[in-house]
């Protein structure tokens, strides 16, 4: 099974700063890491490879420095690394990013399964994974917490729901996004680190992936961020805890007490 794992390099801190003029994230001066959810995607890709064979290719769209993230993935055991990088991609929103990654995956061509983290910790949209699937016209299941079965033409996954989970079977090629419950990411190995040092990273630009110019970067991004602000902190309130049944009981009691119902 040939697997493509899409990863993103993100600022190490969860306290991201925002540029008040452009309303975009300030990335300068902040240490970069692989988006933590993508670490689970890499791990799952490696586990599938170890079980049924095949290759794992890591893919990222980003500035040249994003190479570090790809090298980290190689040190964990991924086989190939692809960096999609071009000034023309600057300012991409989730739609343009999904389009660009999908074009790159088409270029890689030989894939059965695409794995993404459920979301990136900087933007938190969770849109890029499904966006790629849509663009490639392959089935997609988000929030996967377990892969139950892998066969030549299909995989069977457990999708996490608020209560319990759904078991879904889907044909390959397909795309899944994974949650942290799915596995425990490994640490690198010395041989992996040595390999990462020497690895030849494939770099693709807009022309290489034959991207339509009106679908990439700022131009290809319909999202307009009008304002970003920290929401005012809500004070007071009372947390109702317990299982769903207890919570419902407690809540209806309170609603009755306050004569709402």
């Amino acid at each position: 099974m040939n697997i493509v794992v899409c990863i993103k390099q993100v600022p190490a801190t969860t306290e991201v700063k925002i540029n008040p003029e452009t309303n975009t994230l300030v990335r300068e001066g902040v240490e970069s890491i692989v988006n933590p959810f993508d670490m689970y995607a890499i791990e799952e890709g490696l586990r599938i490879k170890e079980k049924v064979g095949g290759t794992v290719t890591v893919l990222t769209m980003g500035p040249p420095q994003a190479e570090t993230a790809l090298k980290e993935a190689i040190s964990l055991g991924c086989d190939e690394a692809v960096l999609v990088s071009d000034r023309a991609f600057a300012g991409s929103d989730t739609l343009a990013t999904a389009y660009t990654l999908a074009r790159s995956i088409k270029k890689i061509d030989d894939f059965d399964l695409i794995i993404c983290g459920k979301q990136a910790i900087d933007g938190d949209t969770a849109q890029v994974g499904p966006g790629i699937a849509e663009e490639l016209n392959v089935p997609c299941v988000t929030y996967v917490k377990k892969i139950e079965k892998i066969e030549e033409n299909m995989i069977c996954v457990e999708r996490m729901m608020e209560e319990g989970y759904a078991v879904i079977q889907l044909p390959v090629p397909c795309l899944i996004t994974v949650v942290k419950e799915i596995n425990e990411p490994r640490l690198p190995s010395l041989r992996g680190m040595m390999k990462a040092k020497k690895v030849q990273i494939t770099v693709l630009n807009a022309a290489d992936i034959a991207a339509e110019t009106n679908r990439i970067g700022q131009v290809g991004s319909p999202t307009l961020v009008s304002k970003i602000f920290a929401p005012p902190f809500k004070e007071g309130g009372e947390m109702i805890v317990g299982d769903v049944g207890e919570q419902v009981e407690e809540l209806s009691k309170k609603l009755k007490e306050t004569k709402v119902i």
């Binding site: 490994r186 640490l187 690198p188 190995s189 010395l190 040595m194 040092k197």
Partner: protein, 386 residues
């Protein structure tokens, strides 16, 4: 200080630190408390390719030497001085094979050690033969294509958990120290069993057991080198392995220092952090200077050995263990002092470091014996140069 380590050596440090922080730190108290053998950490170290750092690539290792081993042991011991012994004591059991094993012996045993599948041990000590190793009573009698071992070894690190043991036994008692030989004995060989497991002051995650040989029959191919070479092999093994003990001591001390500096900046007394008191500052300054001196001595020793593994390195090897282990004892004692009453409590990682540090002054030759060896080397050198 810059020791101009290679990129690969930097990687070893970085990776070892990662494993120590992420895998060992969360479980170190549990292992100390329960005296369990840290198999999950052995697995983590094996997955990271850190078990065969000093074994050549030909046998599945990384192809490094004593320095690579020391860098790894130091980083691991900054977090826990006991767990790391699964690797360090395996090295002690592996050096006889690396230095004196035949091609067949190396091919048979080294790959499993390099991959971390099996761990090793080295046994010379007996109840009545500690510092006076030449007093060992365990015998190996030749019978056709076999040797038959009888006797009991005590205080053997990794005992019971290791698969591969190097045993020093007498093949000819009339020859004294020249009558000892070294043998490889595998776990589960009939006649080979394990006795008492010790309950220890420190390094409690490391197992220390008795090995009992009762008409234990091993193939004659398991003899290392020739009959009579047992103590030569032991001495050269210690030359290579003592820097590893020194690195254990260094790691324990460096970890204590790092935590003590941090703590001194956080602990407020008399309205100020205790790091603002000169008495505390000077204690930290002395600790740091000793740690750095130990590190410099160990790395230089390791490089000397790696540069010419066949040459005798008894003097510098003994010096590095002597110095670093004394430093570890002093620095951990002072680190407890910096922590005050909290340092004495099990809730903080300091009292354990003090307990762990003590062993480094004792095993692989007590520090009294190290001084003997250094002095003997000095006298020999002087006699030779006149």
């Amino acid at each position: 200080m810059n020791y101009f380590l290679s990129e690969e050596q930097q990687m070893i440090k970085e990776l070892s630190k990662k494993i120590a922080e992420e895998k060992m730190k969360p479980v170190r108290e549990q292992y100390d408390e329960n005296e369990e053998f840290p198999w999950e950490i052995v697995k983590a170290l094996a997955d990271a390719d850190l078990c065969g750092l000093y074994i050549s690539e030909k046998y599945g290792g990384f192809g490094g030497g004593v320095l690579e081993l020391c860098l790894c042991v130091e980083e691991l011991c900054k977090i826990d001085g006991g767990i790391a012994l699964c690797v360090a004591a395996t090295a002690l059991g592996t050096f006889p094979l690396l230095l004196f094993g035949t091609e067949e012996q190396k091919k048979k045993f080294l790959p499993d050690i390099a991959s971390g599948k099996k761990i090793a041990a080295f046994a010379v000590t007996e109840a009545n033969a500690g510092s006076d190793a030449a007093g060992i009573q365990t015998t190996a009698r030749k019978e056709g294509d076999f040797y038959v071992l009888n006797g009991t070894k005590c205080f053997i690190t990794n005992g019971g958990d290791a698969e591969i043991y190097v045993i020093i036994a007498m093949t000819n008692k009339t020859k004294g120290a020249r009558g000892a030989s070294a043998f490889i004995v595998e776990k589960n060989t009939p006649g080979f069993s394990f006795g008492k497991k010790e309950n220890k002051m420190g390094i409690r995650a490391s197992s220390t057991r008795e090995l009992v040989f009762n008409e234990c029959k091993i193939p004659k191919e398991n003899l290392i080198s020739r009959e009579g070479q047992g103590f030569i092999i032991t001495m050269k093994t210690f030359d290579a392995s003592r820097p590893g003990v020194a690195a254990q001591a260094l790691g324990i001390a460096a970890g204590a220092l790092e935590d003590a500096v941090k703590y001194s900046r956080e602990r407020i007394q008399f309205g100020r952090p205790i790091s603002s008191f000169q008495a505390v500052q000077h204690m930290l300054a002395n600790m740091a200077t000793k740690v750095e001196a130990a590190r410099a001595l160990i790395y230089a020793t390791a490089k000397t050995i790696d540069n010419d593994p066949k040459a005798r390195a008894t003097k510098c090897s003994a010096m590095s263990k002597l110095f670093a282990s004394d430093v570890a004892m002093e620095v951990t004692t002072d680190a407890v002092q910096v922590y005050g009453g909290y340092g004495y409590m099990k809730e903080y990682p300091m009292e354990k470091r003090m307990r762990d540090a003590k062993i480094t002054q004792i095993y692989e030759g007590t520090n009294q014996i190290q001084r003997d060896e250094i002095a003997l080397a000095l006298i020999k050198e002087s006699a030779r140069s006149k």
